[in-house]
């Protein structure tokens, strides 16, 4: 018996220490395969195909899209919050900043459709009063977006992680993470589980969450020792890893079970995102409520362990 877990490259998180040192296998008692993906959308596809059981750090929008479309997928926990590590960068040659953002109209923009970056971009455009249909939106992964930016093919590119850092070499963000938070744009990733697997092996999911939480706790005290291992597992250099980790937040179990997250805030936010997407015409319909796709049982079990 084995479990396959989806993760991102260039996306350093404390639990990669456990990934690298085999702590998950130890705790879960099964073989654990790790598969790297580029977008949360692909993680959904892989879960649909049965190739992956748990996705660690899937973006909210891909989760909303998949669950709204009726895929058998459950939200088990929050993985990482990163308002500053997911953003849109405007090419410096355009001279566009938050002041004259409307000048983006008619320009070409690279964004990985259906991801947190896409959601963040749409919300920012809404804030600036720009109609997305006036932009020429190209579907590119963050890495591709950075490459397009380097060539000067696009005026703005959105993305996260390594791609975002490369984009920053050619321009600057429109809004900072803090500014976005003020507008109610929350950017975080979740741990999602294929429902069939979750129903059959809740204890595996719970012990996965337990180990992850252990790592998050240990990270607060023992960052120096863990960072090199994490950097290695994420495929990054130390400098980039540290910069990224600084921008990340890893809420612990107690906090997650609180009202801001699994206690109700998360479900409400999912509905908000879904309704925004419906309004934008990116998906047909939202669920009545997202209570049903958020399963707090795993987290409760993990808290007990």
């Amino acid at each position: 018996e084995e479990v396959t877990i989806a993760y991102f490259l260039e996306w350093p998180t404390p639990n990669q220490y456990a990934q690298a040192t085999g702590l998950y296998e130890e705790a879960m008692g099964v073989r654990v395969n790790w598969r790297a993906f580029e977008t949360g959308v692909q993680m959904s596809a892989a879960m649909a195909g049965g190739a992956v059981q748990i996705a660690f750090s899937q973006g909210v929008p891909p989760f909303v899209v998949a669950s709204s479309a009726g895929m058998d997928i459950e939200l088990a926990a929050v993985a990482v919050t990163y308002d500053d590590n997911d953003n849109c960068v405007v090419h410096e040659s355009t001279g566009i900043t938050a002041e004259n953002a409307v000048e983006l109209e008619g320009q070409r923009v690279a964004v990985p459709l259906g991801t947190a970056a896409h959601y963040g971009m749409l919300r920012q455009l809404e804030h600036f009063g720009i109609d997305p249909s006036n932009l020429s939106i190209v579907d590119l992964s963050p890495a591709d977006g950075a490459a397009a930016m380097a060539r000067g093919d696009v005026a703005m590119a959105c993305g996260w992680g390594g791609g975002l850092r490369r984009m920053m070499e050619y321009g600057d963000v429109l809004l900072t993470g803090a500014e976005k938070r003020e507008l109610g744009i929350r950017i975080f990733d979740v741990v999602s589980v294929e429902s069939g697997f979750g129903a059959a092996h809740p204890e595996l999911v719970a012990s996965f969450l337990r180990v992850t939480d252990d790592m998050n706790q240990r990270f607060q005290s023992d960052r120096e020792a863990m960072a090199p291992v994490i950097a290695e597992a994420a495929g990054m250099d130390m400098e980039g890893t540290n910069a990224t980790l600084d921008a990340f937040g890893f809420p612990l179990i107690e906090e997650q079970l609180g009202p801001e997250w699994l206690g109700g805030g998360l479900q409400a936010f999912l509905l908000e995102v879904a309704e925004f997407f419906v309004e934008q015409g990116t998906i047909e319909s939202a669920l009545e409520s997202y209570e049903g796709v958020v399963n707090t049982a795993y987290m409760n079990m993990a808290a007990e362990m």
Partner: protein, 308 residues
């Protein structure tokens, strides 16, 4: 698996039924029926119309029955029903087609999505033919140019044009120009090889006849070699068009802002299976139409094909 079993069972059932019925209804008198042995004689195989109709009906029936379609009267038990994200009922695909045709998808109308892809194919193909055909002729007519271009053509021919996408992205970015260059490269070698084969296919007696009728080299090229190579070039053009159509779809899967391939790729991101199906069907229809159009053009433009 269950689906496959049901499909095969229906096939067998209808086959048996047809065989039984045709024992009773005598087929119309025709020369095939006078043959005592028809097994192994492909010319005696007449595709059964009943089977064709039944085949299409059965596919729709199964599709409808397992997706709870309002269009079919039979429905599979609820626990076997597919959910629309896996397979939407046929009417969804149809309604989606209508709504997208009216309202567009991702800021562009359906027609814009399709026509940009078609335009890219035509532009790339046209440029490829423009360079490839003279190149092929040069290779077929001259020792030096044959030697010069042979290694290049032989190496580039087996490289799938799609493998060039990353390089084309680096060199030319992701805009229109890049896609057209990619399609140009897809068409170029095919057209060059077709033109070269066309030259090779000229019967020597025709060239000799032209010489002894006093034609100059230029006249032989213009009046003998070119017309003689046209049928080959047309065959190459049909292949090239097919390859270009496949290439443009793939290129749009990787990077685009509109186009037929873009539509299905994005729809698959959002689990809009009805749009994906609609797109695939439209891509198939366009591919089929391109092929038909080329065949028709061939019949009109080179009526002498295969008659030499």
């Amino acid at each position: 698996m269950t689906l496959l079993a049901i499909y095969v069972a229906l096939l067998a059932l209808i086959w048996a039924l047809t065989a039984f019925l045709s024992l009773r209804i005598r087929q119309r008198d025709g020369f095939t029926t006078r043959k005592t042995v028809t097994f192994g004689d492909e010319s005696a195989v007449r595709p059964s119309r009943v089977a064709s109709v039944a085949s299409v009906l059965v596919i729709f029936l199964i599709w409808g029955a397992f997706t709870g379609s309002a269009w079919t009267f039979i429905h599979a038990p609820a626990e076997w029903q597919m959910r629309p994200i896996w397979l939407p009922p046929p009417e969804n695909v149809w309604h989606r087609l209508i709504s997208i045709a009216n309202d567009g998808y991702r800021n562009f109308t359906l027609w814009e999505h399709l026509s940009i892809s078609i335009w890219r194919v035509l532009a790339g193909f046209f440029l490829g033919a423009l360079v490839g055909i003279p190149l092929g002729f040069a290779m077929g007519l001259n020792n030096f140019l044959r030697g010069w271009f042979d290694p290049i053509v032989e190496f580039m021919r087996p490289v799938p044009p799609l493998a060039l996408i990353p390089l084309v992205i680096i060199w030319f970015g992701i805009d229109e120009k890049a896609k057209i260059i990619l399609l140009f490269l897809a068409a170029l070698w095919i057209m060059a090889i077709a033109a070269r084969a066309g030259v090779a296919g000229v019967a020597l007696s025709k060239v000799h006849a032209a010489y002894s009728l006093g034609a100059s080299k230029a006249q032989i090229l213009r009046h003998v070699i070119v017309p003689n190579a046209l049928p080959e070039i047309f065959t190459g053009a049909r292949v090239a068009m097919g390859v270009c159509w496949g290439t443009v779809v793939a290129a749009e899967l990787v990077a685009a802002e509109k186009g037929a391939g873009f539509t299905i790729m994005v729809a698959s991101r959002f689990m809009q299976t009805d749009i994906v199906l609609m797109g695939i069907i439209l891509i198939g229809i366009i591919g089929y139409s391109i092929d038909m159009a080329m065949r028709t053009a061939e019949r009109f433009l080179v009526p002498w094909k295969g008659r030499g």
